[in-house]
Assembly symmetry: C2
Homo-oligomer: 86 residues x 2
């Protein structure tokens, strides 16, 4: 999988998920730093219909396995850190 | 919704998702800082069966609306920051 290629392909994702994986709209999840396995599983589920969403089902339909691997590699390569409320 | 109560109820989630929302196993997503709307929508989808997962479907079955609101409030209250690879 090629994270750099994924970063370019993520142009299709950035409107809702951001290039940095921080969701720009509340109904979309942050996908920054998610594991490659999780991201691939969800994209393939949207592509196969095992998981459904009015936007993601459409977007995932045209993704190849290579697209999915590259996109997952890109978003998984982003490091996240957390701060708990007091 | 009561994030403090959610933090306590998250004892049931921590094995896979962590109390801090950073996944402890690769098949589970990070849920730190996700929006309350997204978290509630997913938990209700697992509860209703609109979304299926062998573990989450079981866990969500017994969650009340209040549990879901509190858990979503807790994980949404965690602040996340990201670092892009060079």
């Amino acid at each position: 999988a090629d994270a750099a290629a994924g970063r370019i392909k993520a142009a299709a994702c950035r409107t809702c998920h951001g290039i940095d994986g921080i969701a720009k709209i509340p109904i979309a999840p942050h996908i920054a730093g998610e594991s490659e396995i999780y991201l691939q599983t969800q994209l393939k589920a949207f592509r196969s219909g095992k998981r459904e969403h009015e936007i993601m089902s459409v977007i995932a339909k045209d993704l190849s396995d290579e697209d999915i691997a590259d996109l997952a590699a890109w978003y998984a390569s982003i490091r996240i850190s957390v701060e708990l409320p007091e």
